[in-house]
């Protein structure tokens, strides 16, 4: 399963606009998302992919780029 469309769907819902970052582009340094949108982004990923993201994984670095989010989800068995 290609998770990118689902990640983009969540990202765009949280950002409130149709953003399409490069796979390795920082969502936060680029200004596409601010830090206070991050909790909504993470909870949106949980809903979209039916996964539980534990507190031990709540690090901004894991969700900073599309590539990292994709790799994280793959690690959780979502591919």
């Amino acid at each position: 399963m290609d998770t990118v469309p689902g990640i983009l769907k969540v990202l765009q819902a949280v950002a409130g606009e149709p953003i399409t970052p490069e796979p390795d582009e920082s969502l936060f340094s680029s200004g596409m998302l601010d830090s206070f949108a991050l909790p909504d982004f993470v909870s949106g990923l949980e809903e979209e992919f039916h996964v539980k993201i534990p507190d031990s994984d709540l690090s901004a670095r894991k969700f900073d780029t599309l590539d990292k989010v994709q790799a994280y989800l793959a690690d959780k068995g979502v591919e």
Binding site: F36, L38, P39, S56
Partner: protein, 333 residues
């Protein structure tokens, strides 16, 4: 519940009043912005802060703590000699051991009263308040103080931007007592506390080599989940509905974080008390500084109050205060 190993005065504990002190020097966003290479309006947007106070070079954490303590005791009409214990929370004290508690006790005129340090930034005063709840039934009146000089724990440079824009200096205090005798109108009964520690994420927010280090995004992620969960747990086990909560008194870390917590809980935003705009994030002082201002404006609270904080450790949690002699059917915000 009182420790069964200690003689009990009363197992019920009450918050009798608050006090606070902030240094004279006002530091507006424009001053900080110029040093960290940002715009003043950007600081306001990302934090809700317009200005903060900085201590004078000659002031110590204990100096601020004593002034807040004296303000609290004056407001409560209680003499220092009546205190059974002092707890001082600070993550920014000049000396680790002994910390400021012993100095504060000495400055208040004590030479034997138990004085305890809680060296935890941000959540320190919540922890100290919980300790006071536990000790008050055996020792009587407990003075809780949160005092910080955070301006010396940040770098006012572009590299230190993320912490420099947030922090300020100040001190807050409150008086916890056991038993109903001589309670002033407006006292809150402290009925329960839900406190937690998770050392797995300690690295994202830590005081090291004299400076505060913070991974802002990760701190927000952790706090935005942990704080609402703690408040929900506390309310559920005490049968209080979120819509019955009159005031959320939260560590003034960031206006956007407080709004996020309120939103997650579906708490009306105006019930989350804010004074971060004028004082910035004063770490463990902020909860009690906010409480002191709130109580001055709301001397007779008529609905449940939730105290909440999140900070280094990670330590976080919430404490529930109920208006004294106010039947549940009459709770109103």
């Amino acid at each position: 519940m009182a420790d069964p190993a200690l003689p009990s005065v009363s197992t019920r504990t009450y918050l009798r009043g608050f006090g606070g002190y902030v240094p004279e020097r006002v530091v507006a966003n424009a001053e900080v912005a110029a040093l960290v290479g940002e715009e003043a309006d950007w600081i306001l947007k990302v934090s809700g802060i317009r200005q903060r106070r900085y201590a004078a070079d000659s002031q110590t954490v204990a100096d601020l703590a004593v002034l807040a303590a004296e303000d609290c005791l004056t407001r409560c009409g209680v003499g220092a000699a009546e205190l059974g214990m002092i707890v001082v929370a600070s993550g920014s004290a000049e000396r680790f051991c002994p910390g400021p508690a012993a100095t504060v006790a000495s400055r208040l005129g004590f030479a034997g009263t138990f004085a305890l340090d809680v060296p935890v930034a941000s959540a320190g005063s919540l922890i100290a308040l919980n300790l006071a709840m536990r000790f008050a039934p055996s020792v009587g009146k407990v003075l809780v103080i949160g005092a910080e000089i955070m301006s010396r724990r940040v770098r006012l440079t572009p590299e230190g931007r993320d912490t420099a824009i947030l922090f300020g200096d100040g001190a807050g205090a409150c008086l916890v007592d056991a038993g109903l005798a001589n309670l002033e109108q407006g006292a809150l009964e402290l009925v329960d506390a839900a406190l937690y520690t998770d050392g797995n994420a300690a690295e994202i927010l830590r005081m090291e080599e004299g400076l505060l280090h913070m991974e802002g995004g990760s701190v927000i992620l952790q706090a935005a989940r942990k704080v609402p969960a703690a408040i929900r747990t506390l309310l559920e086990r005490n049968g209080v509905l979120i819509e019955q909560v009159g005031t959320l008194l939260m560590h003034q870390a960031n206006r956007n974080l407080i709004a996020k917590v309120a939103s997650t809980l579906k708490l009306a935003p105006e019930r989350a008390f804010l004074n971060i705009e004028r004082f910035g994030n004063t770490s463990s002082a902020s909860l009690l500084l906010a409480a002191a201002e709130w109580h001055a404006a709301t001397p007779a609270p008529a609905a449940p109050v939730v105290f909440a904080a999140f900070g280094t450790g990670l330590n976080w949690g919430a404490i529930l205060g109920l208006p004294v002699a106010q039947p549940v059917t009459e709770w109103s915000a």
